[in-house]
């Protein structure tokens, strides 16, 4: 097995999905919002990046929009597009709570996925957009894959730093208060609705960036990359890492991606054994998920840590 390649892939994908999980953590663990449609914001970032960087259509191109912008400008637009999408979807949904919000966001994401599948002029339907710019290239002696992994890790660290800064401020404490008891928090002057909406919007921006980086990495923006499976993977990573710790969230995501990639990269001798391994991977992920929910090892560790302080 090519371990360096595996580790680079884990770092790249782990960082990209880590950003999504961190955003989910902000929404759920601190904002008290269950978003089962996070993949849609990820897809918005990816498609926006693809559309803004791809060249204008020529000849046999099916798509109608391509702007040929530089990669950095398209990444910024991807974050803004996710923000706008969050504003549009958050407006009617954020009055809902708990499972109602979960179902509504899930429905939104499924509708969006269906639009991606069927709409041809912008996203090119099921084929998707395949002329995505991969901007970095080799940096001197450093190969592109390492540059890429570094860029993804940088996005993860930047997201971590920004979110952490927000959460250790009185803003984070007010969010905790709202999550614990919204009525009591409002009686203490906390504008619960407004803050919840802000969190929803803020957390969408890095997801849009992550979507853009994912599109760069895969050089593709295609509906099959943005199914509900992505939502569930980041939710599992969130639970694995322990929802109360931003570092745990990152470790959970890296661990889950590592597990998936090692199964994918294992040199199976037959196609049949690779298929079995892929199925077993899902079973094992499910069992670990159930075990973490049942025994809550990370929560117990956090409690012990708090008690020892």
């Amino acid at each position: 097995m090519n371990w360096p390649q595996l580790l680079v892939t884990v770092l790249t994908l782990g960082s990209i999905f880590g950003v999504v999980t961190l955003s989910l953590n902000l929404q759920y663990a601190r904002g008290g919002m269950i978003n089962f449609g996070i993949v849609a914001y990820f897809a918005v970032g990816a498609y926006t990046y693809a559309i803004f960087t791809q060249p204008p259509p020529q000849g046999l191109d099916q798509y109608k929009f391509g702007f040929g912008w530089p990669w950095w400008a398209a990444v910024i637009v991807a974050g803004l597009a996710a923000l706008v999408f969050a504003a549009v979807t958050g407006w009617p949904t954020l009055r809902l709570r708990g499972e109602y919000l979960a179902l509504t966001t899930f429905a939104f994401a499924e509708v969006f996925h269906s639009v991606l599948l069927n709409e041809r002029r912008i996203g090119n339907g099921t084929v998707g957009l395949a002329r995505v710019e991969r901007p970095f290239g080799d940096w001197g002696p450093i190969e592109e894959k390492y540059v890429f992994a570094g860029a993804a890790a940088l996005l993860l660290v930047a997201t971590l730093v920004v979110f952490r800064r927000l959460l250790v401020s009185p803003y984070g404490r007010a969010l905790d208060a709202i999550r614990d008891d919204e009525t009591a928090a409002m009686a203490a002057g906390k504008p619960a609705q407004q803050m919840r909406r802000q969190v929803f919007l803020i957390s969408a921006v890095p997801v849009g960036f992550a979507g853009a980086v994912y599109a760069m990495f895969t050089t593709l923006a295609q509906p099959s990359l943005f199914t509900a499976e992505v939502t569930f993977i980041v939710w599992i990573a969130l639970v694995l890492g322990g929802e109360r710790s931003v570092y745990g969230v990152v470790l959970g995501t890296l661990g889950l991606v590592f597990f998936e990639e090692i199964v994918r990269a294992w040199p199976f001798e037959t196609v049949r054994s690779a298929q079995i391994a892929a199925a077993v991977e899902h079973v094992v992920t499910g069992l670990v998920f159930i075990a973490v929910l049942r025994y809550q090892p990370f929560q117990a560790a956090a409690t012990r840590l708090r008690a020892s302080r």
Binding site: V162, P170, R173, A187, A188, K190, A192
Partner: protein
């Protein structure tokens, strides 16, 4: 109708309910045919009493924006706050506690009180910077002083899950005091509070009253309340049954017949 203040009452009215009412699932919780009307003067200490189900807590909900009145209006400082949100009303200076104590479980006792204050760092604009830190130090000091005042200073680092029911009530009071409210609506503040803390609470309420804080207190412990309040409202079935100074309420045969019983107000 206006509570203490005599001829200057209109100038002194701080909080006023005009024909407010609330129905839940067809049942009238507050307000009869004409709704519930009363007013509270600036600086008054008003007791709000009545049997269970009289609508006392719902009245607090209507005045603090937790529920919206079906009819009429609630005025604070002459401004209509009937449809204002709870946080807006809190920011205007109306603080309240709840019949069942509420606390922020993930925070310590001290953090609960600090969270009660409004900090510049709660604004997204300032949260990413550092300028809120100096304000935070002052807020923490104020919160610690208030915890000493309510007798919870030794529990400052405790999780709220470790507090007794009475301590939780004192914590709620502390969380409102840090906001320096103009009006404080206290819902059964002595319920579950042990006698030592009750004495401290009585002293605290007297101090607040002396400092000019307007107090409206729902309480079943009438010995406690009637010794402190300077005016009492009696609710029954969501309507105002009687009002007046504590001595008059004690002697009011309608109140005695409807609610108190002859032994309760001795």
């Amino acid at each position: 109708m206006t509570l203490p203040g005599g001829a200057n009452a209109l100038n002194g009215v701080l909080l006023e309910a005009r024909h407010i009412s609330k129905r839940f699932s067809g049942l009238q919780a507050v307000g009869g045919a004409n709704g519930l009307s009363f007013s509270v003067d600036r600086g008054a200490f008003v007791g709000l009493i009545g049997p269970n189900g009289a609508g006392k807590s719902t009245t607090f909900d209507l005045m603090s924006g937790v529920q919206t009145s079906d009819t009429g209006s609630v005025l604070f400082n002459g401004h209509d706050i009937t449809r204002s949100s709870t946080d807006t009303i809190a920011e205007k200076g109306i603080g309240r506690t709840f019949q069942t104590p509420r606390a922020f479980e993930s925070l310590t006792v001290l953090q609960n009180v600090v969270a009660g204050a409004t900090s510049p760092g709660e604004s997204l604009r300032w949260a990413f910077g550092r300028s809120w830190r100096s304000h935070e130090t002052a807020t923490v000091e104020a919160a610690e002083a208030i915890l000493r005042r309510v007798g919870l200073h030794e529990r400052a680092a405790a999780r709220v899950g470790d507090l007794s029911g009475g301590e939780l009530r004192m914590l709620e009071v502390a969380r409102q005091l840090v906001r320096d409210p103009t009006v404080l609506l206290l819902d059964e503040p002595t319920a579950g509070v042990h006698p030592g803390l009750q004495e401290r609470l009585a002293q605290l309420l007297q101090d607040l009253h002396r400092d000019g804080v307007t107090l409206v207190v729902v309480e079943h412990n009438l010995h406690f309340l009637l010794a402190l309040a300077d005016h009492v409202l009696v609710l029954a079935d969501g309507e105002l049954l009687a009002q007046g100074p504590p001595a008059d309420i004690r002697a009011d045969p309608v109140v005695i017949a409807a609610y108190l019983g002859d032994g309760d107000v001795a």
